[in-house]
Amino acid sequence: MFRVVIAFLCAVLSGALVGSIVQTQFNLAALAELSVPITIDVRISTIIHDIINFSPILAAMLGVVLLVALPVAGFVAHFIQGIERLWFTFAGFIGLLLCFAIVNELAPMPTFIAATRSWSGWLLMAATGGLAGWLFHRVWRPTVRDLKDPVV
């Protein structure tokens, strides 16, 4: 159980961190297209701001998504064996993809997270859910090959 909790926390925190950095790049790219100067200092300070202020919201969304998606992935993997990690990755990706759509339906604004206004932004942000699913399985059930080649 302890391993599950650690894996879950690693997945949520990593996904939120990477997702925050990804959405910052989309927002800054939109400004750069308007000829707004984006220096490396501005980019770094914006990334830090968003990690502090945006990533907690994404972490909350990702936490709820994984609470549903990971058991579903485990259930599917029980019947279709051999590609278990792929199921967890896929579940995280699809879960966050749907989560963005549901939040947009429920929230008063058309699109809650600005970076998901475009298809590319929506898919890339959802990919951080896939990363979270992958990381959860990597920490929870490392393969023999994983243990020979540790993440850290």
């Binding site: 959405q23 701001h49 945006f54 058309p110």
Partner: protein
């Protein structure tokens, strides 16, 4: 006058301090009368100029209501071309033509289109001279381009300039915020139109879009007035999370959204790292955290002489009316009013006797009259 409810309220007047940091306070007594109730998300109000003719009130859900002096409500039949009601969309502002006494033209801003292709539109209609009021010869004068998806950020407030041209605020459509910087469309702009909806020849961008753009870089502006004494256009707009702005509007100027903002996104993400940039006009005043300014009127009445020349601003999230007075090249909150049940306030207007009229924002909206107590 039918007074459904009357109460005496005290306004705190902050003489030398900001809202959040009052240094010195006095008090002004006002009487609050509830004139009428049961409006369905009322959005705007305008007083008819004939003696004791009453008021017209728009409801966002599409109705135009005549409110007689005794508080009696009667719906005025109105067919707006392509009216679209959903989310924040629907019927918005109503304003009388400068020559209303003879022409009887009412100008109405509203959302038109469909869920996947809608925008802000402007129409005018002739109001009958006698009650029960009717409308006729309704015609659409302007359609903001391009059409967009969603039902948010339409702007929709209007003001006449002394040369009888009309200013209309247009929102950024929320999902299209970067387009507020693009002079090839109407997102996040204030447009200036003739009385028939054409582009005046002296507009600042005659070669861009359709020549109607007056200023750009706006988010969602729901307050605009012309100040004839100072010869200034005052305009306010919603910021995201923080950064609601009061601007001195000038032709051809860039007001910054979304490349400059004093607020951040609702998610906590930064919209822009810049609070100021060369070529972008700074606000005269800002609200951070946001109060969601929804309307504005210039006070030129005699009932509250201490507020002469001040700006009356209603707030939705802030649930208050603020009186802003100029002080040392900026603005200070001079007084605030909240209803007893902390209602969101949508619209404000000054009556010909100097009383202040308010609309609360809900599916059971109320029309209130604030007046000074008689000695």
């Amino acid at each position: 006058m039918k007074r459904l409810k009357q109460s005496m309220l005290i306004l705190s007047v902050l003489l030398f301090g900001q809202l959040t940091f009052p240094v010195h306070a006095a008090e002004v007594a006002v009487i609050s009368d509830e004139i009428a109730v049961g409006f369905d998300y009322p959005w705007a109000l305008v007083q008819l100029p004939e003696r004791k003719a009453g008021w017209l009130v728009t409801e966002r859900t599409g109705q135009l209501i005549h409110v007689a002096d005794d508080g009696t409500k009667v719906q005025v039949p109105l067919q707006l071309p392509g009216l679209y009601v959903a989310g924040q969309s629907g019927l918005f502002d109503v304003i009388l033509a400068p020559d209303f006494a003879t022409s009887r033209w009412l100008y109405l801003s509203y959302a038109c289109g469909t869920p996947n292709a809608n925008t802000t539109c402007l129409a005018r209609t002739r109001l009958s001279k006698t009650t029960p009021y009717r409308t006729q010869a309704t015609e659409k004068l302007f359609t903001a381009r391009p059409l967009r998806k969603g039902a948010a950020h339409y702007g929709g407030r209007m003001a006449w300039l002394p040369d009888q041209t009309l200013l209309l605020t247009l929102g950024d459509g929320f999902d299209y915020r970067e387009q507020a910087q693009n002079l090839e469309n109407h997102f996040g702009k204030v447009v200036r139109l003739t009385m028939t909806g054409e582009a005046p020849a002296d507009n600042p961008f005659p070669d861009k879009t359709d020549g109607r753009i007056f200023s750009y870089g706006h988010r969602n502006s729901q307050g605009i007035v012309y100040d004839p004494t100072r010869k200034v256009i005052w305009q306010h707009e919603h910021g995201p999370r923080g950064g609601d702005e009061l601007n001195r509007l000038q032709a051809g100027r860039n007001y910054g959204w979304p490349i400059v903002s004093l607020g951040i996104d609702y998610t906590g993400a930064m919209v822009t790292p810049y609070e100021a940039l060369p070529g972008v006009v700074d606000p005269e005043y800002h609200w951070t955290p946001s109060l969601a300014p929804a309307d504005m009127a210039l006070y030129q009445g005699t009932m509250f002489p201490q507020w002469q020349g001040g700006l009356l601003i209603t707030h939705l999230a802030g649930k208050r009316l603020q009186v802003l007075m100029p002080e040392h090249d900026t603005w200070q909150v001079a007084a605030e009013y909240r209803t007893s049940n902390e209602a969101r306030l949508r619209a404000v207007a000054v009556a010909d006797d100097g009383a202040i009229w308010l609309l609360t924002d809900s599916d059971n909206g109320r029309l209130l009259r604030l007046s000074a107590p008689k000695d």
